[in-house]
Symmetry: C2
Subunit: 347 residues, 2 copies
DNA sequence: CTGAAAGCGCTTACAG
DNA sequence: CTGAAAGCGCTTACAG
């Protein structure tokens, strides 16, 4: 019945109004100088018809799709929702859409994901790289979100400073024997967090790192971390480099009958959804993903739009990387456990 | 230095080989009949140049973008990674890309997210709707993943049957007093799970539902669910409609000094990442997201591709909905806690 | 088996 | 202030 069988285009609006498509285009984009009465009439008609510009037509003409790709190391990563949401939001504000690509599995999948996006004509790509991966020049603008220690990184949370916040917090609570829980010594993010944490410990504080090996399917009691033993050795604080490990520690300790936070403290990183639903809630470190995303998108967009501007102006800056920015966004401490260790030591 | 300054196109390949663009196009797509020697030569040249067809050119010509939209109720939802990963995979196999749109916040955001995708020219949309939302005809093919109780649903896990699996499991362990934990009486998914669960309980089994109210920021002890009290009342099984609630229950019980699974059982739903890292690991229900995604994408693609086929053939089928399919995918039980209740009752 | 031509919808110099 | 024209890269009837 109604005319939504086929989307209206510029020619139809032009035909209905007896003007040229150029004028309609100019009126709608506000670029060419069109008399305000005509422009109003055109905009009105476009609205009445529910006109939507064809992205294909525009992309073909301008050479830009206004779509960005997002590649994540492990899309099943619990941090993913936060990142994707923030990136989509920032991109949307800047007038871009986000095409996702899963790169789970090995490193070759990451490369494959990138080329899939390139084939789809994205104008640029946001990458959260796999651990230990170096992003090669892919002939397209790229923004990397990882850690300042990663070559080519564009923006990241200040993981080092986040580690410092945890250290300060635990020290202030009176802890003197800390166990750090990590799962991958090759992760720049984890190493930064651990480095920052250690950097703030007074000389008399004892600190060890426990690397949790990857145990995919690990039911039953076979894969306990041995934290009860650690408590017996006098450790009173368990600082995990992610909420997931903190959760693991918390439940293992609780199961062993150790009271958190009265006997020991457990802290996480990332402020994931469950850190607030567990009892006791986890003290953790929150990152400002919206800001990180905004910086990444802005960097990417400025590279994309610089390319279309003056062509041969600055040969000194790398053509496709947004890494010149190299910003770090401060993290913040979310305290949800306030008790200290059983007895407080003098300094 | 090298020629990746600008992407090669059909004309360049044609020019280099002294043939027409039509022939190159035909050779590359395998459609027109081109002699195999020529076709090989063309494919070789295309590969040498690193030719990638322009999606814009193709989309403009064919009227199809080969991009699908994905709208999720709450992108920060912990289930999101699984869904997004499965959908992206299935779409990729079918030759489509996935554009994401965040619809967090109220229902109007969902509508907005949908139009943003439509403006970007997607060929169809996969929607996991907000609770209580009915998806209007948006003039574009749609596949809905929610629950069979949702009008217009295309495919979903068989939540009812999942609930039955939980009931059978708990009954087999000897439980006779169950507490179901839900958080939203308006959720079709939750109601299906609860309905299925209840449908399998023998008449002599006592069962209550505890609706957990939404408490966004809920630290300290103010927001306990009072499960210790329930244990004192004789409840021995806590069946949550999601792993998140199960986690909440588990930690609250452990904190109260109740031993899981020796004293009480805790079960979840969805098999999220953390259900395996907690101690004790959670018994839960796993859904076959890859299969659900595949069915959703196939339904969507078949509607999209039927539209381009015979035009006026069947006016009886709804133009844009893939819901004729209405498939349900069975769920499976993952047992990670095997103990029964303290004493076993006779039937 | 191969090619010339048209056209998808848009934007952008360029004329008037 | 407005319009005629070209062209982005592709595919698809249609001729030959």
């Amino acid at each position: 019945m109604n005319s939504n069988r086929t989307r209206p285009n510029l020619s139809q609006i032009a035909g209905l109004l007896g003007v040229s498509t150029a004028t309609v285009s100019n009126a709608l984009s506000g670029k060419g100088r069109v008399s305000s009465e005509l422009a109003d009439k055109i905009r009105g008609m476009a609205a009445d018809l529910g006109y939507m510009p064809s992205t294909a037509g525009r992309a073909l003409r301008t050479g830009r799709s206004r779509v960005l790709g997002l590649v994540l190391p492990d899309i099943a990563n619990p941090l993913f929702p936060q990142i994707a949401q923030a990136i989509e939001n920032a991109a949307s504000k800047a007038g871009y859409g986000i095409l996702i690509a899963d790169s789970r599995g090995d490193v070759s999948m990451q490369t494959e994901a990138i080329s899939r996006l390139l084939e789809r004509g994205v104008d640029g790509i946001v990458i959260v790289p796999r651990r230990g991966t170096r992003i090669a020049d892919i002939g397209s603008p790229v923004a990397v979100i990882d850690s300042p220690s990663t070559p080519g990184n564009t923006v990241s949370a200040d993981h080092w400073q986040g580690g410092q916040l945890i250290a300060d917090h635990l020290i202030a609570l009176g802890h003197r024997k800390l166990l750090i829980l990590g799962n991958n010594p090759d992760s720049n993010v984890q190493n930064d967090r651990i480095g920052g944490l250690k950097s703030r410990l007074p000389a008399d504080v004892h600190c060890e790192v426990l690397w949790i090996e990857k145990q995919e399917r690990c039911h039953g009691t076979g894969c306990a971390l041995g934290l009860q033993q650690k408590v017996e050795e006098g450790f009173t604080a368990f600082a995990a480099v992610s909420d997931l490990h903190a959760l693991r520690a918390l439940t293992e300790l609780q199961r062993a009958g150790i009271r958190v936070p009265e006997q020991v403290s457990v802290t996480g990183f990332d402020d994931l959804i469950w850190s607030t639903v567990v009892t006791p809630a986890l003290t953790t470190i929150h990152m400002d993903m919206p800001l990180i995303a905004e910086i990444a998108i802005d960097a990417l967009v400025s590279v994309i739009e610089r390319d279309s501007g003056d062509s041969e102006a600055g040969t000194e800056q790398p053509p496709n990387s947004a890494s010149a920015t190299r910003q770090q966004v401060p993290m913040s401490l979310i305290v949800r456990q306030t008790s200290g260790p059983p007895q407080t030591f003098p300094h």
